[in-house]
Each structure stands twice: as C-alpha cells, then as structure tokens.
Amino acid sequence: MRAEIVGVSLQIDGVSIVRDVSMDVPAGTFHGVIGPNGSGKSTLLRAVYRSLRPHDGQVLLGGDDVWRDLSARDAARRRAVLAQDSSLDFEFTVTDVVAMGRAPHKTLFERDTARDRELVVTALEHVGMAWAGSRLAATLSGGERQRVFLARAITQQAPVLVLDEPTNHLDVRAQLELLRLVKSLGLTTIAALHDLDQAVSMCDGITIMREGHAVASGAPLAVLTPERIADVFGVRAHVGEHPLTGRPHITVAPLEPDTHSSPKDSP
C-alpha cells in the first residue's frame, strides 16, 4: 500500500515543530527519515500513527486521509507502529502484548479466536521469540522487547509499517537482526533512523529533515552526499562500499581535526 505525506505541518502547544513536509513512499518500499535530534522526525511520524493531528496537510494511506477519511480503528488496520520503547507499567505477558495487535480487528465484545491465537504464535515464531510467550514482557532485554513489539505489529496485519528510531538502546547485533526482520516483511515502511550507515544500506528512499523542514528527498546515495551530511549533521563523512557486504557504507568523523587521535593525523 502506498503511503503519502502531503505538505504536513505540525505544532505542539502552539510551537511549530514540522513545516510543510512531503514524501511519497511507493508500496513495498523502505523509506528513511533522517536528521539530527530535534529535527522533527518523530513528530512527523506521530501524524502518521494518529497521535498528533496535523495543523495543515494530509497523511494518505492507500489514498485515504488517516485523519479525515479513516477512523482510528480503520487507520490501525492499514499501518502498524514500532516505536522507541513502550511503557510496560502493567504486567502483561509477551502473549498479551502481541495479542493487542488484534485490537483494531475486533468489535466491542468480541473475544480472541483460535485464529487470533494462531497469528500471535506465528508472529512470535517469525521474530524468534516463541519461547517467551508466557514471560512477563517487562522482564525481557531491550532487543527482545523490540522483537516482541515487532511481533505485535505483525499480528496487526497492516500493509504499512512505521518505525520510530526502533534500534535506539539496542546493541549492534540486536540492531542488525531487528532491521533484517523488518526488511523480511516486505511492507511499505517509513522509518525515522539515527544511524546514517543504517539508512544508506537499508532504504529505497530517504528524506533528510532539519529544523522541521525536509531539506532533501530521493535515492539514498543521491541524498546522502558528504557535503550535505557535513551541512546537516555537522560531521565529516566518507561514502564508500562496505568492505564486508559490498553495500553502500558511510563512515563519519568530527568536522574539526581531532587533536589527540592517531599518529597518522599529526603533523
């Protein structure tokens, strides 16, 4: 399903956070939204998952405006979300958490059916967490927890997936595994990402944001040039080929020459 963000502006308590941002994500592609802290990435995604109503503009999923044409429930059948971390104040088991993905498909008094339970088990198997079904979700590690939330998104059976910096707080292996799992789903994906290297190797398209504006949009290598990275992120960047995988690869260093680094850099 195609996802479009058309001229969206967002405010929080009267302060403008996102201004006139647009992007077009064709069905089945992975679109990255990158930018420094405070550039408005996460806020923009809140408009997609119906948590913050745009001041102006539209978010379209399959051509329908998620705020005007679709109810909260209908919108949730079209897109699932994997956020940085969810609150687990109440002691739900892993199975309880994943089963919540069925919520948008249920009527008021409807109970969980055998098919719902089957979907939960399949999703847990898919993310490699089938062993943890009866564990309390709060007792899992950060990486395991994100995989459980991904399983919840899978049971939601939505064609569009929104990721809000999903690999924050995860160790390197957990980061790679989570992203590999997400890619394997083949969904239309919009992801706010922090890591430039992740972005350039994962994404089919990229939008760079700074101070609430989209400053560039397009194919990863066209958008993520060393000059633009220096301009937006304030770091020196080298865009090359990953020595192990052969995929595009970005390495960064501080803009100012480092005063106490390797002997090679010293005069």
Binding site: D96, A103, L108
Partner: protein, 332 residues
C-alpha cells in the same frame, strides 16, 4: 471459575452480613424473611424482625456490595486513565466535593443549596468539583494524565479548606452528621438509597466490559494506543465520565469510604493479571465482598456500638494487601 467462586462468596457474605449485627439473627430466619420478600414463601414474620432484617440489614448489605463494587471499578479505571498505580476514585476531588456539599447543606439548610437534601447536595457538589477539575486538566480538548491528577489534588485541597472553614463557623451539633460524609458510613442505608447507585453500576459495567480491550491498550501508553487504533482522547473522556458517575453516586450515599478504590484493583491484578476484560469484573466482585465483610466487622467488633467503616477498610485491607504484594502472584 474465579468469577463463579466470587459470586458464591458474595452471596454468602450478604447472608452473613444480614445475620450479624447488634442483634444476631439466625441464618435460617434470614433465609425465611428474604425468601418471603422475594415471594419464595409466605411465612408469617413479626413486623419488628422484618424491619431489622429486610428494611435495615438487607438494604445495608446490598448498599455495601454496590458501593464496594462501584469504588473498585472506578479505582481500576482511574489507574489506567491516569496511568498511575496510586490513583484512587478520590484523586479527582469527588469526595472532598461531596463533603463540602454535605456540610453546606447541613449548616445553611437544604433550601440554600437548591432544596437538594444532604445526599443530593453531596452529589451536586461532587459533580461541580469534577467539572472544575476537567476544565483545568484539559488543554485544547486533550486531557493529560499528569495534569488530571494535579488538578484533582489541587481542587480537592481547596474544597477541603472551604469545608473546614464552614465547619468552624457552623452549629457543632448539626455538624456531627457531616462526619458521615467525611469518614464514610453505611449506617443510614435505606432501600431508597439503592436505586440510583445500582442503575449507575449496571450501565457502567456493561459499558466498561465493552472497553476492556481498549483499556489494555491504553495501559501500554498513549502512542501505542493510537497506533493500535484507539482514539485515546475520546476513551479517556469516556472513562472519566464513567468513573465520575460511579464515584459520585457511591459517595453521595455512603460518604468517602477510603482504601477500597485504591487497593482492591491492585489485589485483583495480583490474582488475575492486568487484562481488564478479567480485571474489571473481578475487581467489582472482590470490592463488593470486601465492603460487605468489613461493614459487618464494623458492626460486631464493639457491640452495640458501631465503628466507622473507613477505619476497618484500611486496618484490614492494608495488611492483607501487603501480604499479597509480598507473595507477588504476578510481580509488582
């Protein structure tokens, strides 16, 4: 299974509650009298016994059950709504408002408060308090959980201050009656008090059962709930209306009985877990059984005197709760 056990426990508690008191009535006589009123038999009963058993005790234990259930349900909802385990039905200022209404009605006379009567004035003031709390808790139509609790606490202090001031200048004799609203009591229960709370709890229960799944989702966070298709702000407003209705009706007939609304939902959570589709009915039943039994104790511990039920809800509930917490059915 749990539900069936709890329903049987409630029926047993109701019968024991009717039988015990200043005068102990044998269970067989309770059965006969209650049966005659339900047209199960046509036994001849002396009017005095009938008055004790049916008019006073039966009405009282039923009211205890309804109030216990209402406060527990309201507490369970508020803990999700404010996403705060320390929230109880009074955090929104309802009981302080009710106490103020009662004190005003007693000191100024019911004509001054619109001819409501003491109970009516308590209800009206608790609703007025809620309107003020909501007005301050919302910003652009959205209600934030932290703002809600803060506004509730502040307004509650204000209402208490006014109550104290009015009491200071009021007729001391008339004011003894107002202690009823402040401490909470089921002493004056009559059949006429049962109708509105019972209706309120029936409507609210059905409504809440339909929202169990959404409440589970809300418990995991506003953003997650939005992502899973719950209209968070609407659900929060609906839950607020429900809890307000439950609490205000309970308080206006029984005063501010403490502890039940805070602890019963937690106790129920230890036993059946956090799923509201199970938690809500279990909370309601446990709350009903608990208040019936505690009210019973408050009547028999120091016969023929009655002690305020609020003392016992905490004195018995707290150690029991701490024990449950230590055993930790499901970690906390």
């Amino acid at each position: 299974m749990t539900l069936l056990v709890l329903v049987l426990a409630l029926v047993a508690a109701l019968f024991v509650g009717i039988s015990a008191g200043t005068v102990t009535v044998p269970l067989s006589e309770v059965w006969t009298v209650v049966g005659s009123h339900l047209d199960w038999n046509d036994a001849a009963i002396s009017p005095v016994r009938d008055q004790i058993i049916w008019d006073f005790r039966t009405a009282r234990v039923l009211l205890a059950a309804v109030v216990g259930a209402a406060l527990s349900l309201a507490g369970a909802c508020l803990q999700v709504l404010a996403r705060n385990g320390l929230a109880d039905p009074y955090v929104l200022g309802v009981s302080s408002g009710a106490a103020l209404g009662a004190v005003l009605a007693v000191t100024l006379g019911s004509a001054a408060v619109g001819g409501f009567g003491v109970s009516g004035a308590a209800f009206a003031m608790s609703m007025a308090t809620l309107v003020v709390v909501f007005a301050f808790a919302q910003r652009a139509g959205r209600i934030g959980p932290t703002r809600l609790v803060l506004a509730g606490v502040a307004v509650s202090y204000l209402a208490t201050a006014i109550t104290s001031f009015v009491q200071l200048y009021g007729d001391p004799l008339a004011l003894r009656g107002t202690m009823f609203w402040i401490l909470g009591s089921l002493q004056n229960a009559r059949w006429g008090d049962l109708g509105i709370p019972t209706l309120a709890i029936a409507i609210c229960s059905v409504w809440l059962l339909a929202r169990g799944r959404s409440m589970n989702v809300l418990a995991t966070g506003d953003d997650t709930a939005s992502a899973l298709g719950v209209d968070v702000n609407r659900l929060r407003i609906e839950l607020l209306v429900i809890t307000s209705l439950l609490t205000a009706t309970a308080v206006s007939v029984a005063g501010g009985i403490g502890f039940v609304g805070l602890m019963i939902p937690h106790a129920a959570r230890f036993v059946v877990g956090p799923d509201h589709r199970r938690l809500l009915p279990v909370s309601a039943l446990v709350g009903a059984v608990f208040l019936v039994l505690v009210d019973l104790l408050s009547r028999v511990v120091d016969r023929p005197n009655e002690l305020p039920v609020g003392i016992f809800t905490a004195a018995i509930g707290a150690p029991f709760f701490l024990l449950l917490m230590r055993r930790g059915g499901r970690a906390a």
